[in-house]
Symmetry: C2
Subunit: 91 residues, 2 copies
């Protein structure tokens, strides 16, 4: 693992922003349980992509990418789960 330096700090800050960006969406989705304006295709592609970014981060030994993408993956899973549940309830 590369040692922590200014670039790692920059990456971790960027990752913190893109990860916590999902928190308001998680809260909104949690409260309203509405996901009509969220695209299922977006959620599925994004989940796959973030998963692969995590793999890329692990293989490149880039700590900011690993931390940010693993955390984002957890949040996006929740939103995806509510979206799929909503779709299955409206035939």
């Amino acid at each position: 693992m590369a040692r922590m330096n200014r670039l790692d700090a920059l990456g971790l800050f960027a990752g913190t922003l893109t990860t916590i960006a999902f928190l308001p969406q998680v809260v909104r989705t949690w409260r309203t349980r509405r996901t009509d304006d969220l695209s299922l295709a977006m959620l599925v592609l994004f989940t796959l992509g973030v998963g692969l970014w995590t793999v890329y981060g692990v293989m490149m030994k880039l700590l900011p990418l690993i931390v940010a993408n693993a955390a984002t993956l957890l949040l996006i899973f929740f939103i995806l789960w509510v979206k799929i549940r909503n779709l299955s309830r409206r035939p």
Copy 2:
């Protein structure tokens, strides 16, 4: 710039997914012009974060991060623009 290798290809594929993930959302937002279920805070934080990821990619000379985040930035700008326009029309 590092030469193209398998890890670059993995990163570019991951970036392609997370970038095109926004296309269905852009299309949906374009068609419906509705953004009620999209959190403004999410969009702002995400725009800032993706911008910083682009800077991180440039400084780390990681082509996949530069390409993916610059492209995502363009798409997220559109969604953010519609969201802000909608908010300004509903006082």
